[in-house]
């Protein structure tokens, strides 16, 4: 087939390739995470992926449209993987599938599918589930816990009682709960408190710091491949660092260091993989920077002062709300509409 209108040349690139690169750059994070937590993560990823493809197919079937292109563009997989990575790895199977349903069907396909959803599907899934099932969504296995594959499978698919003993507080939980309980009692800096609970690693939460580092590596790969631009991650990291620094300087016994915040929870995943989602985020350079700043600030505020253990999902959803407005207000100047260079010798009227 011959294209009707010029240009007749095209760079070989495709949405599928972009999505594949995103998946590829998630691999280091997945590898480290899985090494720490066990094969449960991989099971969750598989589960989420299958569910995502199934839901996509179902929607296209109901709409009587060919599903092939949508199923092979890997965009559903990206959402699915992000859900698997943000949900507790030992969540029961139905929780993951509920999340995927909200992501793929409600948030993405009801708005017309790829490229038209105003909200990030994975983050809607997270927000829905943490509000609907707060207890399940905060059962994070202890990093030191080593369960065998059958045990993990039983927890995910079986009816085994969910033992609270298996789960432990994440470093972010500790900051929130323990600090509030011990308000007024001097216990040194936050870092010392975490150390006392054996939750502090080299520079941030034990174990989690390496997962975050692996996400950072993947994110830099995405940057180098040109899939994302520097605006959002840089603005996100900078704003989060800055606000954390301010509070840390004010009171190091109540607030933890910026480095800790950057490498805890979903900060790195959010900065490089979620806030950079082009569909639900801002598209203009200035809009992207504001988006990143807003997401970074809100994530910190919600994480530290709000009721939820981590603020990434809500901060990104809140910035998603603002994205259309930010975009239209930050339209860059069209070439030539800036004040032109003065022509020498030209008389000014």
């Amino acid at each position: 087939m011959i294209p009707l209108s010029s240009p007749y040349l095209r760079r070989s690139n495709s949405t599928r390739r972009i999505m594949r690169l995103v998946l590829l750059s998630l691999l280091p994070g997945i590898a480290v995470y899985a090494a720490l937590i066990g094969p449960a993560l991989l099971i969750q990823i598989l589960l989420a992926s299958l569910a995502a493809l199934g839901f996509e197919f179902a929607v296209f079937f109901l709409r009587k449209r060919p599903a092939r292109a949508a199923l092979t563009d890997h965009s559903a997989l990206v959402s699915a993987w992000l859900i698997a990575l943000t949900f507790p790895p030992l969540s029961p199977w139905w929780l993951t599938i509920t999340g995927v349903f909200f992501a793929i069907v409600i948030t993405k396909q009801l708005y017309g599918g790829l490229g038209q959803n105003p909200f990030n599907p994975a983050m809607v899934a997270f927000a829905v589930c943490i509000i609907a099932f707060p207890a399940l969504m905060s059962q994070w296995p202890a990093m030191s816990l080593s369960l065998s594959l059958p045990e993990q499978l039983e927890l995910i698919f079986g009816f085994a009682p969910r033992l609270d003993a298996l789960t432990s507080a994440t470093p972010l939980d500790v900051i929130k709960t323990v600090l509030q309980k011990t308000a007024g009692i001097t216990h040194g800096t936050v870092q010392e408190l975490l150390m006392s609970q054996n939750l502090y690693g080299t520079f941030a939460g034990r174990g989690w710091e390496w997962v975050a580092t692996a996400y950072l590596v993947g994110g830099v790969f995405l940057l180098i491949m040109g899939v994302i631009t520097w605006h959002v991650p840089l603005a996100f990291i900078a704003s989060m660092t800055l606000i954390a620094l301010v509070f840390w300087i004010i009171d190091p016994s109540r607030f933890s260091a910026p480095l800790f915040h950057l490498f805890s929870g979903g900060s790195m995943l959010g900065a490089f993989f979620i806030a950079t989602d082009p569909v639900s985020g801002c598209a203009t350079p200035r809009g992207k920077i504001i988006f990143g700043i807003g997401a970074g600030l809100l994530a910190y505020l919600i994480r530290v002062f709000g009721v939820f253990p981590d603020g990434i999902a809500f901060s990104i959803l809140l910035m998603n709300l603002c994205a259309p407005l930010l975009d239209s207000m930050s339209q860059p100047a069209v070439f030539g509409s800036r004040p032109q260079v003065r022509v020498p010798g030209e008389k000014t009227p």
Binding site: M1, I2, L4, S5
Partner: protein, 197 residues
């Protein structure tokens, strides 16, 4: 007693508020309806009267006063209805029955049948027909809005509507079709062999 106080206070309040409203109604009175002009600006100004009103402005007035439906203007088409609906915050409607949008056309007088009666000149709302009594008349096609108002008065039926032809000058690109249809060109090597230098 309580009931009486309640009634008294409510009456007092109502009277006060009523007085304030009454004052405002006098003081902040607005003359005319600025909506009419805005609606008129969205109408195609063909003055064709197909909407049932004697011109575009009367129709605009009728819409502004809420008397007329917004989907009566055939030359404005669906796009025109959409614009009026957007202006007034109403739901978009399909064009009214019988108000189908026709392809743009201009009137032309078949000159050898024209008897110079000037009836069409009097009918033309935009003075796009020139001519004098007992002389042949001509439509200035660049001014003609295609309203067809000159057709009924003509005793000789000598005015015809010519659809505007597409030329390379007024042609515009089409909406991209998902599957373009273009016949392959006969640039076969056999053809090229005959003319090779």
């Amino acid at each position: 007693m309580d009931v009486l106080t309640a009634i008294a206070i409510l009456t007092l309040g109502a009277a006060l508020l009523g007085a304030a409203l009454g004052f405002a109604a006098v003081h902040f009175r607005v003359e005319g309806n600025p909506l009419t002009e805005k609606i008129a600006a969205l109408l195609p100004q063909t003055q064709c009267g197909q909407c049932g009103y004697p011109g575009c402005k009367p129709y605009a007035e009728a819409i502004a006063q809420g008397g007329a439906d917004i989907n009566l203007c055939a030359p404005g088409g669906e796009d025109g209805v959409r614009k009026i609906a957007e202006l007034l915050g109403l739901e978009i409607k399909p064009l009214a029955e019988g108000a189908a949008q026709k392809p743009p056309a201009v009137a032309r007088i078949v000159e050898d049948r024209c008897i110079g009666c000037t009836l069409c000149i009097q009918a033309c709302p935009v003075d796009a027909i020139v001519g004098a009594a007992k002389q042949m008349h001509t439509v200035i096609s660049s001014l003609c809005t295609g309203c067809e108002l000159c057709l009924p008065p003509c005793p000789e039926n000598c005015i015809e509507m010519l659809p505007v032809q597409e030329t390379t000058e007024n042609w515009a690109w089409r909406y991209p079709a998902r599957v373009p249809a273009l016949p392959p060109l006969a640039l076969s090597p056999a053809a090229s062999g005959e003319n090779s230098c």
